[in-house]
């Protein structure tokens, strides 16, 4: 098998954002490895996801629940539905460990979410830990640091 190229890693990050923007959540969930966590810290440069509060620290059960809920008939906060939009800067590839099949990228982006007459913008940095399993790149863990993670927010309903 050929080693993963930098371009493949970068394409993966772009493709993931597109799945979220277009609402293909089942395909998005399928990118994940089963013991992965989506972490969004509450504090700037937070190092511990467990013993202080985070905005999100979700296992696959929670992510599946989050995604399924979006389509429920009685999901009142999604009547009408929110839409989102990621604008990505070219990812940095920070680690490439071909032997272990492990890769780390760092991506700055602007995230826009809208519902009814409200729209808001978040600036963030996403850190992806990717692994190649059976030839496919998968998300082992994802960390999303909002630039203003300690600000007071209204509802953030989709996935930055």
């Amino acid at each position: 098998m050929n080693p993963v190229t930098k371009e493949e890693l970068i394409d993966f990050i772009y493709a993931e954002a597109r799945l979220l923007d277009e609402g293909h959540y089942d395909d998005w969930l399928a990118l994940w490895l089963p013991d992965g966590h989506y972490w969004m810290p509450l504090d700037y440069k937070q190092s511990d996801p467990h013993l202080v509060t985070s905005l999100l620290y979700e296992d696959m059960f929670m992510l599946k629940l989050r995604v399924e809920r979006l389509n429920g008939a009685r999901t009142f906060s999604q009547k009408p539905k929110s839409r989102c939009h990621h604008v990505i800067q070219r990812p940095f590839v920070d680690e490439m460990d071909h032997e272990a099949g492990r890769y780390v990228t760092n991506t700055s982006m602007h995230y826009v979410e809208t519902r009814l007459d409200d729209q808001f913008l978040l600036a963030l940095t996403a850190t992806h830990e990717l692994k190649r399993v059976e030839g496919q790149l998968r998300i082992a863990n994802k960390r999303v640091d909002l630039l203003n993670s300690d600000a007071a927010f209204g509802n953030i309903q989709l996935l930055p």
Binding site: V52, T53, M62, L65, I156
Partner: protein, 452 residues
């Protein structure tokens, strides 16, 4: 009762509260909100912070009591002081960051007036410029003004802005048993704040949030999309045990009405009360290894069991906080306007208890009370729809009639009732009227004070 041009009187306030209903102005009127800030939040004991947020001399933390910016600071004698966050000179806020250490004194960044950490004026540069001006006879020369009264109750700092008024003990009475139970859950009898709070902005009136804390008829309806879907996914996975954390924490919201009816609601005078008298959605969390043993070592087995058998759900400390004893969480509903409320959700570590308890508490906080929470989303949706719906002139009254006794009710005695009663909401409005109008009816001069 619509917005009129004369100042609102105590009688106008009285007329907004009937036994079983309240006028929508209590949620929507800017004039009512202004009176709440001036009277209700001045006359009551309002939560400020926890003393572990300012553990060392000179440590400070900034917050608000109602709309009043204040600083909680550890003075050189070790005591916690609460000062108005305003330079007595030009009004500049003395501290802007949420927390820090100021050393032995505060120094205003505008003209370098400086103050001891109890607020007393320390020095003014080029002071000879004030010689013979009479500055020393002004309030400005006294320094940063402390609030009327401060109480540190087992680490929780409360303040009364007004110089005179009801004492801490007479205000809270036996409701302090919920804080006691939360603190007693530490084998050391002590809590420490764990990290910064979630900060969640709500475009609704602060009282809607407070009322929702004891509203036991909404979880299975408003939260069906999260709790109901959690149960569905778990069943699809073949009911795996141990249950995923989301199942332990979110699924109990789908409990049937009967569960909440039997849970019970207790009310205390002055607007305080709690759900979960007999059991609660926090009753069936899995045991954490080593915790019960540590509690028995600290308290003896009987006392340890008694502490842990309390499963109080939400305790309201009127006017503006909710405490969850079994999971060491405190939510502070900070009013910013008639239709704007900042909710800060804090968690605390039980000193000398296993870390897994704190991990569960942190999980609860983010799963239920974060701006990213699938449970919080539906709550906020309901509040904001209510705030917008109340602008309808189709009906001007909000109903609080569930299990209302037509002969009226007495809030001056503690009572335990069916867990779905709206008595606690009525209890809050009884206290609201009392502490709103106390200083409207009786000013310091003995004559009615103009409300605006």
């Amino acid at each position: 009762m619509s917005e009129r041009h004369h100042p609102l009187s105590a009688e106008d306030i009285d007329a907004m509260i009937e036994g079983h209903q309240v006028h929508r102005d209590v949620y929507t009127s800017q004039r009512v909100f202004d009176l709440e800030m001036r009277h209700l939040f001045a006359n009551t004991w309002v939560f400020v912070g926890h003393d572990s947020q300012t553990p060392n001399k000179g440590d400070y933390y900034t917050t608000q009591i109602g709309n009043q910016p204040v600083i909680q600071v550890r003075h050189s004698d070790g005591e916690i002081k609460v000062l108005h966050n305003r330079c007595p000179h030009k009004g500049t806020k003395i501290a802007i960051d949420r927390e820090g250490n100021t050393g032995k004194f505060f120094r205003c960044p505008y003209h370098a007036w400086s103050f001891k950490t109890n607020g007393c004026l320390l020095a003014i540069p080029l002071k000879k410029g004030y010689e013979g001006t009479g500055l020393e006879n002004t309030d400005n020369a006294k320094g940063m003004k402390p609030v009327g009264a401060v109480k540190n109750y087992r680490g929780f700092i409360f303040a009364r802005l007004a110089e005179d008024g009801i004492s801490f003990e007479d205000f809270f009475l036996d409701s302090l048993s919920s804080i006691d139970n939360m603190v007693d859950r530490s084998p050391a009898g002590r809590l420490e704040v764990a990290g910064p709070p979630l900060r969640y902005m709500h475009k609704c009136n602060w009282k809607m949030l407070v009322e929702n804390q004891t509203d036991t008829c909404h979880p299975m309806v408003a939260h069906e999309s999260s709790a109901g879907t959690a149960v569905k996914i778990w069943e699809e996975l073949g009911n795996p045990e141990p249950r995923p954390p989301a199942m332990q924490i979110i699924a109990p919201f789908m409990s049937p009405y009967e569960f909440f009816e039997n849970m019970g609601i207790r009310t205390w005078p002055n607007g305080h009360g709690h759900t979960g008298v007999h059991h609660s959605i926090h009753s069936d969390y899995s045991a954490i290894p080593g915790y019960f043993e540590a509690m028995c070592d600290a308290y003896g087995e009987d006392r340890a069991k008694a502490i842990l058998d309390e499963n109080r759900h939400n305790t309201i400390y009127f006017p503006s906080i909710m405490v969850k004893g079994p999971i060491q969480q405190l939510r502070n509903f900070i009013p910013l306007g008639p239709d704007k409320t900042l909710v800060e959700s804090y968690i605390y570590r039980l000193v000398d208890a296993p870390d897994q308890l704190l991990a569960r508490t942190a999980m609860y906080n983010r799963m239920i009370n974060a701006p990213t929470s699938i449970v919080g989303h539906d709550d906020l949706e309901m509040y904001e729809r209510a705030q917008e719906g109340l602008m309808s002139d189709g009906l001007e009254w909000v109903n609080l009639q569930r299990l209302y006794p037509v002969d009226g009710e007495d809030f001056s005695e503690e009572a335990v009732e069916n867990g779905t009663t709206e008595r606690q909401m009525r209890n809050q409005f009884d206290a609201w009227r009392k502490f709103m109008t106390a200083t409207m009816r009786h000013s310091a001069l003995g004559t009615p004070e103009a409300a605006e």
